[in-house]
Amino acid sequence: MSAPRVAPEPRPAAPLVEVAGLVKTFAKAGPPALDGVSAHVAPGVVTGLVGPDGAGKTTLIRILAGLLDRDAGQARVLGCDPGREAPAVHARLGYMPQKFGLYEDLTVGENLRLYADVRGLPAAERPAVFARLLGFTGLEAFTGRLAGRLSGGMKQKLGLACAMIRRPELLLLDEPSVGVDPISRRELWRMVRELAGQGIGVVWSTSYLDEAEACDQVLLLSQGRQLFFGPPGALTALVAGRSLALRGIAAGRRAVLRRALGQPGVADGVIQGRSVRLVLARDAGPPDLDALRAGPGATLEPVAPRFEDAFVDALGGGPGGVSPLAEAMRPRDPAPGSAVEARDLTKRFGAFTAASEVSFSIRRGEVFGLLGPNGAGKSTIFKMMCGLLRPTSGQALVDGLNLEKASGRARARIGYMAQKFSLYGTLSVRQNLEFFAGVYGLGREARRRAVAGMVETFALGPYLGASADALPLGFKQRLALACAVMHEPPVLFLDEPTSGVDPITRREFWTHINGMVERGVTVMVTTHFMDEAEYCDRIVLVYRGRIIASGSPDDLKDGVRGPELPDPSMEDAFVALIGRDGSGREAA
């Protein structure tokens, strides 16, 4: 990972963005947030900006948008210096910050009008522009709705419409797909492609690597340094011949993955349904199949490399397969019977039915995935399962205990990690741990031991006095997980636990989950990352408040296989199943 690798590429005449040797340092003594970044963006080109959290993606976008001054290096944006000639840049730029930059207490129409006003769109052009943008984003029917009441996918589209109000020459999008379901992501992608086709240059930062793979060029950053700039295929080519699929695993694919990641030549590995996908380190031979103990029928087959393989490899490989957290837990007997059960759960809000007769049961030691588009009813079901929302009818049971009747005892068996880390940002790491230990009713001695254990297994020692808000994202996530599992719950509920988290941190997270599941913990998870859905033993797909499909990831993929989709991904299956159930557009 020394010098940036720049793939040769024909240079168009007038690039919209040209940066060279860009340096930005925030803390005087600290490491630079950007350290020698050089890239260019031509009209009509979509540039993917990827890298782990803290890589400097947002910093780079803000410098390009003229919102942040650089410390050193050259930068030209639309022919201007974004530092000194920011107003000239702003007039011709479209920028969508994280969280979309929308006023949630204004309606869709008011947001559009505000951006039209501040960008000086002449009144005569407005009707045509508004009609075009609303049609383009499919928001015609919602102009009177408050932006805060839109689903994630609709917010994202409105944010794009606001950024597009004066047809900018350059469009900067900072993590537009965080917390958005696959269908909305695909729609946004189609729109951006269309805009690029009209000659607009696009810079798109993302933690979804399938999006990066579809870009014309990618800029890979890590801790401010540029690891790669060029077409994604050129990076993927670097891992050619090193991607393998381990198929025909008899049982215990989680244990197989753990053992595989422990092998010296294995740089990365993930679970894909029944199989395990491995990426070998450079110049390493295939792992010893016997040592993986995958069963007699197991085979290692070469598969086509993905951009994600190359990404993880370029960052020095994924985390190991052993979870110190799980190691420290006492194993549970995989008693028969279901750990979690939903019986005809129904929730109505007035005339609106958010969940309708939802039933499923989760066996002990199983990873169970709850998938669905934004607004499908996942969160409603999730909240009822946690006892946070009273069902209109039906029952939610944990270990046979009804969450309504025996809520205290039932909840004591649940570890809950909410969307957007429900930590106390102003408390220190130690105070957070002690608070949650107290909440779960651990005695003084048990509390001391639990806190010490979490600090050790998650290496939180250096951060004990730091406030939770100040932690790097990876550590925030560890802390949130630590707080959720400190009382060693037999059941773990994870509501979009990895939203906005980079692929490396997500791998580490799943290492812990897999380790705990091996110890007999039952997990229910919601996610918008379809590669994470592959880790699940079983999935239910929720749409418009009902379960429309269920089965293992491979079952779902098999169910949509056909001449048009010979080798469907989990995302293909998701989109196809939702599409079959009716127009997916309207709820997305």
Binding site: A65, L68, L93, M96, G101, Y103, E104, A163
Partner: protein, 374 residues
């Protein structure tokens, strides 16, 4: 220029819509003034009425009973009569009584003697020094009045050695509310003004909208003016509410002109809103901003504005510090307007002081929000 005005108008209209939809703005702009004015009207009244006072009649002569009746007739005291001083002293200890007047067995005898010594005893509760002084002075006053009347009835001249003929200017009936409530308006408006704006910039940072706005042609000054205008109007409405209650409910006289009041208040409001905007710009978090606003706006205004505590009585470093508190000038200007009238020689220097503070705060806000994230 026209484009700039259009952008200011767009921001101002957006803020207006947000004010209408945000219950907290309505609460701060309309409910808080009512609450604060009623609170300051009823709670900070320094004139005491009906202070519980015990009168121990150990002497039962007609003179002693006449003096006790004089105490009972006073509006200042609510008198309880007794014959045992030990019982009354116990109540003084528990706080049931604020003072005890003991008319001893020797009262009639001592009264007949020529020396001016008061032949009775006043016990007061020193834990409440203000009330204690009050009880002491009023009791003495009642005693003097009673003596004068008694002497006149007896046909003798009772001449106190010095005759004071007090003539009070401005607040003739010496009602403390008349000078306190105008000052209270300043304190309330300080809090309201700072709270109104403390949240608005921080909210935009928290929700990421500020970043989106910064990447448009809107300049820092346009943003500032656009945000200030609707909250200025809301602040003026809050002032109107405070004023209406002060005049209507508490009957405080107003001797100035409406024009002068609006002019003085407008300058003050700019400084109060400026403080909120500055806090908001620096804090960038609504929670922190609200706390800082209450602490940094309300407390200094309460203690250092001369609202209750006389600035002249403060040590010089603190006195110097009061010049940095915008409410100090406003309290002074309001007292002038309410009690004296349009005394421009007094109002103008105060307006200059407030304008200077407003300019500094708004300038700092502009400088801090100068189109940069960092």
């Amino acid at each position: 220029m026209r484009a700039a005005l259009r952008r200011v108008w767009a921001i101002a209209r957006k803020e207006g819509v947000q004010i209408v939809r945000d219950p907290s703005s309505i609460l701060i702009g309309f409910v808080l003034p009512v609450f604060l004015t009623l609170l300051s009207g009823y709670a900070t009244n320094l004139d005491l009425e009906g202070v519980p006072l015990g009168v121990v009649l150990e002497d039962s002569s007609p003179e002693a009973r006449s003096l006790a009746a004089a105490f009972a007739a006073s509006r200042s005291f609510s008198v309880r009569l007794g014959h045992d001083r030990r019982q009354m002293q116990g109540e003084l200890t528990t706080g049931g009584l604020r003072g005890v007047v003991v008319i001893p067995r020797t009262f009639t005898r001592d009264l007949a003697r020529a020396d001016a010594q008061a032949p009775f005893q006043i016990l007061v509760d020193g834990a409440e020094p203000n009330t204690a002084t009050f009880v002491q002075n009023y009791a003495r006053g009642i005693w003097l009045t009673w003596m004068t009347l008694r002497a006149r009835e007896a046909g003798e001249g009772f001449a106190p050695p010095v005759v004071l003929a007090p003539r009070t200017w401005f607040n003739q009936d010496l009602r403390s509310l008349n000078s306190l409530l105008p000052g209270g308006i300043a304190i309330n408006l300080t809090l309201i003004g700072a709270l109104l704006t403390a949240l608005v910039v921080a909210r935009e940072w928290e929700r990421g909208t500020m970043e989106a706005m910064l990447a448009t042609p809107v300049t820092g000054l346009e943003m500032l003016v656009g945000k200030l205008a609707p909250y200025f109007l809301l602040g003026m409405v809050a002032l109107g509410i405070c004023l209406a209650l002060t005049l209507g409910v508490f009957g405080v006289p107003f001797r100035g002109s409406a024009g002068a009041l609006v002019a003085v208040s407008a300058v003050f409001l700019l400084s109060a809103l400026g403080l909120g905007l500055f806090i908001s710009t620096v804090a960038r978090s609504q929670f922190v901003a609200a706390q800082v606003a209450i602490l940094s706006a309300f407390l200094p205004a309460y203690f250092l504005s001369g609202y209750v505590f006389e600035i002249a009585g403060m040590p010089w470093p603190v006195r110097l510090l009061t010049h940095a508190i915008s409410a100090r000038y406003y309290v002074s200007a309001l007292k002038t307007l309410f009690l004296a009238g349009d005394a421009w020689a007094q109002l103008l220097p105060n307006m200059v002081g407030m304008a200077a503070i407003a300019a500094v705060l708004l300038g700092l806000t502009l400088w801090r929000s100068a189109r940069r994230i960092g």
